[in-house]
């Protein structure tokens, strides 16, 4: 699957990338929301977007709303360092909202396999 990863922390982003590539996906990394929007305009479409929540300039949620407004309906997975429950409840359109800790290593590939 072709996946776009967005994270303002390059190390965390690369970790996500490592997890997904290990699961056999084809990943591209964007360091912020704006860069992500540029990549989304690429010719080859992405099948999934995995984004960090808390980022400067454009937060993960804002990015989510922005791409929906642009009419893109690719699945969107939000990663957060805090309790994901309230976010899930508050934002119905998300494919998933996952806690960013070392459970990600197993949860993220499993989730994507189900999509």
């Amino acid at each position: 699957m072709r996946i776009l990863i967005v994270d303002d922390d390059p190390l965390a982003g690369e970790m996500t990338q490592a997890i997904l590539e290990e699961a056999g996906h084809d990943c591209l990394f964007a360091a912020n929301g704006l860069e992500a929007l540029e990549h989304l305009a690429d010719e080859t479409p992405f099948e999934l977007l995995v984004s960090d929540l808390h980022m400067p300039l454009l937060s993960g949620l804002e990015l989510f709303r922005e791409i929906r407004e642009q009419g893109l309906d690719l699945p969107f997975v939000l990663l957060t360092g805090d309790d994901p429950e309230p976010l899930r409840a508050q934002t119905p359109g998300l494919a998933a909202c996952l806690m960013k800790d070392d459970s990600l290593e197993t949860d993220l590939p499993r989730l994507i396999a189900q999509l």
């Binding site: 303002d8 922390d9 965390a12 490592a18 997890i19 290990e22 960013k100």
Partner: protein, 582 residues
């Protein structure tokens, strides 16, 4: 060779955890810097947000990489900041206190790569404070350079060329070979490719690993066929000192290596401190001088212009509120004097009102430091700005190709040197150098080859002459050298020996070797009494050298050259239409 994806997931994860660990002290130091800039009563939302983001990121990536002990302190700090930002944004003493404690707790964690999850808590050691950026690494070892690139041809070529510039270069084609060699004898600098079969950023990753293992950073120059932002960013993150897109020119690389293995420590920064409170001024002066800068204190604003005439300040630090003439007024006065238009001015004041700070900056000052001021912070701020200004100024007065003084600057400096020669009654010589048959070099081997020749000559001149001598690119392929304290005969001797060494340098263009020579004319003061007479005389002598067969040095004499025979009009000056834009 394999295509990058040979690394196992576990290996990749291990490396990422390692990078996180090596970046961790830097992140804490950043938070500490921001914290130091906050005082109770401030409402500096921007800084609070930055701090919040740092703690948030530390918490997040700490969790991602399984360092559980990071969570509690980072989360507590994050929450305290969130609450403050959500309420009135007012900095309070308890908040600062809490953040400081949380930072201390984080710094005291014994984070260990080999404890995969949990059990890594308990303060074991204190992470060493980061070295201040202006600490010179003391005396450098010899000029031993390690060059690592998986392209064997490139490695061999670059190593050979660099050795012409006096560097001892050991080439490596694999990261493992480099690692072993560094363990045995660390070099003074590493030249490192970015992309290796091991991965897109395997070069920077290897450097990060080396510096964690050695607990010291070896200056590293990255070379890469990719000139993209992410590779550059990665290089900076692991402490890279320079980044060179391929193809790498040996001359440029030599320039960079010269700077990294620097011959002479740079001139200390000169800082002028203006404050009506002598104690405060002395306190700041002391802090700056302790860090190696030269500080001069003035307590009366009206003396500043006069002091600046003799004290060549890199930066002025001024109190905002002074009787008779405020900092703002003094800044305005200075900005109206053409020579001081770009002199950096920083206010120091206890003024915390942002509007008033902004008003004060509007007249053309460059920054605002709020009292009370930690000495470390003062030093950092001043150093940063003074350094940037020096770089800017050097861009204005230097020729972009060779890094030498440009035409106008070298002429101005000649005037200054002659004035001081007149005062001290000591001789001065001007030598004009011109590369022989330069147009042919350009035509035969192309402009890049011509540039290479000019840069090599510039470099020879700068390295071989004394610090007091002045070297400029006069135009095209003509160079002007001002030699202080030498008479014409001595100057001729110096230039002659340079001529011999330069003639021995081999250049390469598309695999073809070639050599270049130069001719020179020397004229001396006091024989020629003013700058324009001196320049003309040196130029005439240069023409004579060209006519006498090139690759030689001639001395100009008082009598305008009475041509000894053949050609009265110098006509074969090689420069015509040579290009290589000056």
């Amino acid at each position: 060779m394999a295509t990058g994806k040979t690394e196992s997931f576990m290996e990749r994860k291990r490396k990422l955890r390692q990078s996180f660990l090596s970046q961790f002290p830097g992140r804490l130091a950043l938070a500490r810097d921001l914290l130091a800039q906050l005082a109770p009563g401030d409402d500096h939302a921007e800084r609070l947000k930055q701090l919040h983001l740092i703690f948030h990121t530390i918490k997040g990536s700490g969790a991602s990489f399984g360092f559980e002990s990071i969570n509690a302190p980072a989360r507590a700090a994050e929450q305290a900041l969130r609450e403050t930002l959500d309420s009135n944004g007012q900095v309070t003493a308890p908040l600062l206190d809490e953040l400081t404690r949380r930072l201390d707790a984080l710094a005291g964690l014994d984070l260990n790569l080999d404890t995969p999850n949990g059990h890594d808590h308990g303060p074991g050691f204190i992470i060493a404070p980061r070295q201040t950026s202006d600490a010179y690494p003391g005396e450098r070892r010899q000029r031993l350079i390690y060059l690592c690139d998986d392209d064997p041809i490139l490695v061999q070529e670059l190593a050979t060329q660099l050795s012409c510039f006096g560097y001892r270069v050991t080439p490596f084609v694999t990261l493992d070979a480099l690692r072993e060699a560094v363990a045995v004898e660390p070099p003074s600098t590493i030249i490192m490719d970015v992309i290796f079969p091991e991965g897109q950023h395997a070069g920077p990753a290897a450097i990060a690993e080396l510096s964690t293992r050695l607990s010291q950073t070896i200056p590293t120059v990255f070379i890469s066929s990719h000139d993209d932002f992410s590779a550059r960013l990665r290089a900076v993150q692991v402490g890279g000192s320079a980044y060179c897109p391929k193809p790498v020119k040996a001359v440029e690389m030599a320039e960079i290596l010269d700077q990294l293995t620097n011959r002479a420590p740079p001139e200390p920064f000169h800082i002028l401190i203006v404050d009506d409170d002598p104690d405060m001024a002395q306190f700041h002066a002391m802090a700056l001088e302790e860090s190696g800068m030269i500080a001069r204190v003035v307590t009366e604003p009206e003396q500043v212009p006069a002091v600046l005439e003799s004290f060549d300040a890199d930066l002025v630090l001024m109190d905002l509120y002074m009787p008779n003439c405020s900092g703002v007024e003094l800044a305005q006065v200075l900005r109206q004097i053409p020579g001081y238009l770009s002199l950096p001015i920083i206010y120091v004041s206890s003024e915390t009102n942002v509007d008033r700070q902004f008003k004060a900056l509007e007249v053309g000052a460059d920054g605002f430091l709020t009292k009370p001021l930690e000495p470390e912070r003062l030093v950092t701020e001043v150093h940063l700005r003074a350094e940037r200004m020096r770089t800017l100024r050097s861009l204005m007065i230097r020729d972009s190709l060779t890094g030498l003084f440009n035409h106008n600057t070298i002429l101005q400096l000649l005037e200054v040197a002659m004035a001081s020669g007149r005062r001290s009654q000591s001789p001065i010589c001007l030598a004009m150098l011109d590369v022989d048959r330069f147009k042919t070099v350009n035509d035969t081997y192309g402009h890049p080859a011509g540039d290479q020749v000019l840069m090599a000559l510039a470099r020879t001149l700068r390295l071989r002459l004394r610090e007091v001598d002045l070297v400029g690119r006069y135009g095209g392929e003509e160079f002007a050298v001002v030699l202080v304290g030498l008479d014409s005969e001595q100057a001729k001797g110096v230039i002659d020996s340079l001529r011999t060494s330069f003639a021995a340098v081999t250049f390469f263009a598309d695999g073809i070797e070639f050599r270049c020579t130069f001719s020179a004319g020397v004229a001396g003061f006091p024989e020629f009494t003013n700058a324009s007479a001196l320049t003309e005389a040196a130029d005439r002598a240069l023409y004579r050298a060209k006519h006498a067969g090139r690759n030689r040095v001639e001395i100009a004499h008082e009598e305008p050259d009475t041509p000894s025979g053949i050609n009265a009009v110098p006509d074969t000056h090689d420069s015509e239409g040579a290009g290589n834009g000056a």
